[in-house]
């Protein structure tokens, strides 16, 4: 099953490699991993999307907690949460396609960030499913390149990843 794990870690050199190394050494999956400093510059927050049996996910949580640099870990998918991912798609936009792409972008509440004679660069934010749907909607054919950030997640309401 797909899980989205949020963790706070001390901003030490090599902290990211400890997490990435843990996943590869123990054979855990990583679908995506995002990391950036928080409002507290000494901390980074990471969102890892992974999958595995309940036993594997339990071990992932425990092994992450065991890393000395990790302050706290939460499996967001255990409760209500919000998940967002940013995608930039550069598409070939010529002739009548330009209008159709603009329309689809509006429907998906995306924005066109860059326009050239033959291309649009579209920004889209949402859960993974929404981004996938957009790709399906416009079809593979016009896509020149795609870049996605991987999911960032946060708990709803009072669900807070404590320091």
């Amino acid at each position: 099953m797909r899980h989205i794990i949020s963790l706070l870690m001390v901003n030490e050199a090599g902290a990211l490699s400890r997490v990435a190394g843990l996943f590869s050494a123990r054979g855990y999956n990583i679908e995506s991993l995002t990391v950036a400093p928080t409002e507290d510059a000494t901390l980074s927050r990471m969102t890892i999307v992974t999958s595995g049996s309940d036993a594997v996910i339990e071990q992932i949580n425990k092994q992450l907690n065991k890393l000395i640099d990790v302050v706290s870990v939460m499996d967001l998918s255990e409760g209500e949460h919000i998940e967002r991912e940013l995608m930039l798609v550069k598409v070939r936009a010529e002739g009548g396609d330009r209008e159709e792409l603009k329309r689809l972008t509006d429907i998906f509440r995306g924005r066109i960030l860059d326009v050239s004679a033959h291309t649009y660069t579209i920004e889209l934010t949402g859960a993974r499913v929404k981004l996938d749907s957009f790709i399906d909607a416009i079809g593979r054919e016009p896509i020149l390149e795609t870049v996605r950030t991987g999911a960032s997640g946060i708990g709803r309401g009072n669900r807070i990843l404590n320091q």
Binding site: M9, K62, V71
Partner: protein
Amino acid sequence: MELTGAEITIRCLQEEGVEYVFGYPGGAVLHIYDALFQQEQVRHVLVRHEQAAVHAADGYARSSEKVGVALVTSGPGLTNAVTGIATAYLDSIPMVVISGQVPTFAIGEDAFQEVDAVGITRPCVKHNYLVKDVKDIAATIKKAFYLAKSGRPGPVLVDIPKDVSAQRTEFVYPESVKIRSYNPVGKGDSIQIRHAAQMLLDAKRPMIYSGGGVVLAEAAGQLTELVRLLGAPCTNTLMGLGGFPAGDSQFVGMLGMHGTYEANMGMQYCDVLLAVGARFDDRVIGNVEHFAQVPRKIIHIDIDPSSIAKRVKVDLPIVGDVKLVLDELLDVLRSSKQKPDAVEMASWWKQIEEWRVKGGGLRYKNSSEIIKPQYVIETLHKITNGDAYVASDVGQHQMWAAQYYKFNHPRRWINSGGLGTMGFGLPAAMGVQLKHPDATVACVTGEGSIQMNIQELSTCKQYHLPIKVLALNNRYLGMVRQWQEFFHGNRYSESYMDALPDFVKLAEAYGHIGMRIDHPADVEPALREAFARKDDLVFMDFRTDPGENVFPMVPGGKGLSEVVLAEEL
């Protein structure tokens, strides 16, 4: 007064009460060696290979409650140390390894003797640091010692670039240490502990299974009291030997791949299993699915939550320091009006006795023609009164030492259980002998393992370490040969040790005494003579039966009750 980074490093070791540093100098640690030279409090032991430095620090730590310390240079010094570090990591041994690094301005330029020490060691340390500022050295070393010995212990590496060890700053050793993201547990959950007590009192067939965690936590006394209070059988893992006295009637022997029949059957068919500081690893419970086929309740006490429910499902987890948890459990049991059911317990012991008879105990057919390795270990036990420190290498001899040297005290059995590192025994014995200069220290090894760090005979000479080396020389990599006999159709691929040196002459070349023992009748006299030489290292080359196998054996991938006994082959 400002001190150099190197001087600060040594001052930190002094503050930590470090007696010995095991190491080997080189370019990147020259400043640190210079600072070491200009003081007398911390003594340095010059090994002949960095792997041995780490094993010696490891042996020192295993035989005491102290943190072992090793010092190596950058590049090959560090890579040589990695096997030692991984050995300590797998067995949770508290250790601080200080490595030199190329100067900060050269890092990343593929400088001479540069490797990414932090990157290479990352998967086999509890934590590691690269110190980039001289002002951080003292605080980092303080943290390193704290991390190494607190919580689940383990090795910590501190990598110090050469320019950092030369820079100067004020020396202030922090009095305390706080790491925001690290809060090791102490006491266990009291409610869980009360549940555990109740489960144990209600049990009809309780079994206590303890591991290295009991030894590391200094909880052997608590464990022993608990076992006696419950009247239950107790088994120890390879790492846990000595945690409960082997001479006690409630001890059913070591469990696992080469454990006793009664210990393994007891594990399989108990109704409540109390696991203390042990981690259900593959060499202990064999096939996980097979183990899970029989219903039993499992209580698991461990300081590391990730050890719980890693391989087997646990009914009652208790995360905490084994010693504190056992103290509390004992309090609850002592104050409980309920006592273990004597009738049920008697019938459980009757069952265990039946298994003991069926398994036939640990046994071998002695010979008057050829030396049986088990006989050497039994005789070693006899003439040392079971009171020696026994450092072992890895292989058949290790299993025979574990089976036949009945350890009654913790920290006497020094072996590489998790990583299974050949070459561990002799350097580990050096660390033990330095920590306990007046104690009897034996190194049980084989002709294969000893050659992996035989250069340390030179270190033993330099520091007058009167270790007694018992090489059980069967001319084979015995455990490999045994598996090839059982599972690979007697095809002994590369397991015969041809062109062995004359170990007697070799020992003599290093300035020690060498003995070769060919006949069973000479085993005891030779051992008596060797151990009477209190001030000498004696290397005993026992020519043992090359066909001898370790029994009982639970073949890899099989379940605990699918054990192969000696007569079945």
